[in-house]
Subunit: 94 residues, 2 copies
Amino acid sequence: MINDRQKKLARYAKALGHPVRVYVLQTLSLQSCCYSGDLTEILPIAKSTLSQHLKELKDAGLIQGETEAPRVKYCINKQNWEEAKELLKTFFEL
Amino acid sequence: MINDRQKKLARYAKALGHPVRVYVLQTLSLQSCCYSGDLTEILPIAKSTLSQHLKELKDAGLIQGETEAPRVKYCINKQNWEEAKELLKTFFEL
DNA sequence: ATAACTGTTCGTAATATTGCGAACAAATAT
DNA sequence: ATATTTGTTCGCAATATTACGAACAGTTAT
């Protein structure tokens, strides 16, 4: 009934469905990577809350985190990022 | 901190964050308008549930409903649809 | 007038989301 | 060895989302 592309699109859109996550993705896509601490300094939310948002973006596949002890470097997951882009592009150009 | 474009983008993305709503928008953008009954027949959800999803899309500004008694004709809200498209396009092309 | 049709609203329930602070884990610095 | 730094996880609370059926409202058919 509802196909896989539609489900995937909804999944990615859902991940984009919060201002903080939009901000994080925008930051990452501009500078490719950043430490979560950089975001904590700027964003007016508790670090635990940011951590949750980062987890959601990771679960959705849009970012990936790499431990560079004691910090964690987050980057865009390029492959899935491109997939999301393609899905949305096609969606809006029907 | 987080600007209006980011908030708007998140709002539209949130509306797109469910498979049923993606399906509805895709259907509407393909045939421009449709009656909610057409969707009820196809989608495996209760009509009250569909009504809620339609309300959310309407609240997000992506669709608009017009009563053609006893039915309701739903159409894409072109202006906001274009805005969402532009916001997402810019977002992914940073 | 009554029945049928279309869709919304209401009440309810289960689950998910958002947010915080405290506690924790792991590595580094003192 | 102890303290500091960085970030996650836990526990909690408030609110939002998703879903359903029943009841309702408005229009059209009988």
